[in-house]
Subunit: 215 residues, 2 copies
């Protein structure tokens, strides 16, 4: 535990996922300085002495997106020796989830943008540092977690239709689901609000909400 | 990403689990210096500039237990502001798993000892820093992971009997399992070696091994 000769910087980076246009999307920002000047990267901050990593992640989110009070969880700590050309820096990565309405009613602070996760995975958008690795790791975690947790509900508004929720599951899992199977799986976890979603473009649909855990 | 004023130390701590005497056990070491002098804690090292967190975890394991090449995975990064009274220190915690034979054929380096995890959970053994929190988090991860992964196999030798493996599942899950249900669940994942375990104390039992993944 001798820490005398240690010169390691600690960054906290945030992978904010949302779903719009039937695609998993990620918030990126643009670097204004070297290294990797003008390249996109995940929003991040340097961990301050008087804050926890989680508080730093919240600060980063708040600064870039105006969002707070959304789902936030530690993802992994990335520590390759050469991941930052300036100095030894580890990154404690967090991932956050939000439904798009919340994100759009908030404001992305320039130069933050929303890009489809697939464009990072397929290399169309290149990221600074090892941030592509962080994105891939986060997508993997999301895929794994969707099947054993209620994480998918974070991507829909409080009241939602079942087709809306099914679409979220399909996007997160990367595969189409049979409607009957999906409904069977999801029915113990949702309840009708009694309201209908109406609109010009579709038939009225029943609205549902997530059942609270005590049920 | 301004890192100029940052004074944060990075520790890497390792939670090594094994099972002996039908109990989940953890390797602890004793602190020789203040703070928390003479209290038990998890084996840990200070992250060096030229090593990854995983390499630091391997170094710590090797130093304290002589073990290498065992299951090792990052658990979580703990970063409460006051977790170390000396200076701001975050801990990247790893957990490692080994079957007891490997651990016993190796050597615990003084003052490392093996203690039942329950004695930490129930407060009989008090740990330095926030290491109790790390232990609880690790146990939770282990319990969660045992149901959707092959992690339980790490606690048995290469060749094992089914009652041996069932016991491991029961200890990790904290509940007794019906033999018939366990066998049904496990049978696609194991295969007979063709050998028998013989001994004075019990009837001969068939030996099994884990099926390789391509099956």
């Amino acid at each position: 535990m001798n820490t005398k000769h240690q010169k390691i910087s600690v960054a906290v980076d945030v992978l904010l996922f949302t779903i719009t246009d039937d695609k998993l999307q990620i918030v990126l920002t643009k670097r204004s300085a070297e290294p990797f000047r003008d390249m996109y990267c995940l929003p991040g901050v340097s961990l301050r002495e008087n804050e926890t990593p989680e508080e730093a992640a919240e600060r980063s989110l708040k600064e870039r997106t105006g969002l707070n009070d959304i789902y936030l969880e530690q993802l992994y700590t990335f520590g390759d020796v050469d991941r930052d050309p300036r100095s030894r820096t580890i990154s404690i990565a967090y991932y956050a989830l939000t439904d798009p309405e919340k994100l759009l009613s908030s404001k992305l602070t320039e130069p933050a943008i929303l890009v489809p996760a697939d464009k990072i995975s397929n290399g169309r958008i290149k990221l600074a540092f090892d941030h592509k690795k962080i994105v891939e790791y986060g997508r993997m975690r999301l895929r794994g977690k969707v099947s054993y947790s209620d994480i998918a509900f974070e991507f829909v508004p409080e009241d939602f239709t079942l087709p809306q929720l099914q679409k979220v599951y399909e996007i997160l899992l990367g595969e189409e689901l049979y409607k009957a199977n999906f409904r069977k799986m999801i029915s113990p976890r949702v309840e009708e609000t009694g309201e209908m979603l109406t609109g010009m473009a579709h038939r009225p649909s029943r609205l549902y909400r997530k059942k609270s855990r005590q049920d």
